[in-house]
Amino acid sequence: MAAQLSDDELSAALAGDPSGFSAVYSTVSPAVLGYFRARGVDDPEALTQDVFVDVLPKLQGIKGGHTGLRTFIFSIAHARLVDYRRRSSRAPQLSEYDPLQDERYSNSAEDDVLGSLGGISATLSMLNDEQREVLILRIVADLSVEQVARIMNKTPGAIKQLQRRGLIALRELVKEKDYTPS
């Protein structure tokens, strides 16, 4: 990960000190935001902030250091994502604006720069839900197989199996789409 939480910040956060809260937020929230983005959530920033509003007051009882903290935060994020899916399944379906259908379409500068990001999100959406969840938790959230197994309430062997199948499926999809990184 880009930034790591220092031991002092971690102990301050686990002691309920707000200075530790801001360190936890600035360190872990990008990964949570990326997790929600990779899952194709409509408003990933709002869900990220929901997670941290939930998580930060409850940091005092966490054990396991850095690993326990990340596992706790991403288990909350996973639960929030499940809630979001249930809520959106009951809500009226929103049709996304597709710029390719727009006759006034012109190349987006952001797409030119970050073309690979939009591509990988679209590719991930074609994966099986559990495989996608395992790959995102392993790569975007940077969690170990055991942590992912705890969050998804599965055995590490099942997670490894899902990961392997997900990677194979992703490789096929990448080849089909002639994926080229920018």
Binding site: P57, L117, I139, V140
Partner: protein
Amino acid sequence: MSATPTGPENREIQALLRDAGLDGDADLAAALGGMRALALDTPPAPRADLAALLAPGVSSLDARRNRQRRMGAVIGAVVVGTMGLGAGAVAASSEDFRRSVGHTVEKIFTPAPQAPVTGTDTASTSPSNVPAMTAVPAVPSGGTAPATPAPDSPTAVPTAPSTSADPVRRAPAPGGKPDKAPAAPAVRPSPLPSVPAVGKAPELPVKPSAPPSVLPTLPGSAPDQGRDKS
């Protein structure tokens, strides 16, 4: 932000691919690098409630809300206490205030025992008073003119029918009230002939008087006629 991970991230991705037996696939490694790049964004600007949580000195929003609730209770208690102290100070400083307060308190509390007593009195004496009240209005209800002679009528009427037994029952009867008149004459048919002379109900006395007249005459006349015939 770069889409192609370098350094330790790249090594982790290679280790992941090696675990799955897919190492050496550059396209897949690049795709996973793109996935990893999703987590390299800057943290989103916190909204209001999260910013309050991240502010120094706030460890829980609930604690802050509870503190505000406690502050409201404390302010209320202080206001009530100050008002009590102010009232006490005014009472201590001016004698007129004390006197007027004592007067009002007396006024409040002295009628309070009387009010329930009168209430119970009316409730308890009502059975005794009501007959008296009903008896008195019953006399004037007989007519507007006999309202004054009503007290006299018990004395006058008994003389006329020569029955001094029930002056109260007599009283409504000469009043000429049609409702009460039948009740009294039903019991005693004999004074009733005098009532129709005063009142307006001649038929009611006739009915009770007729059967007794018929009944005695029939047995009296029948045997006489039978004896005469036989």
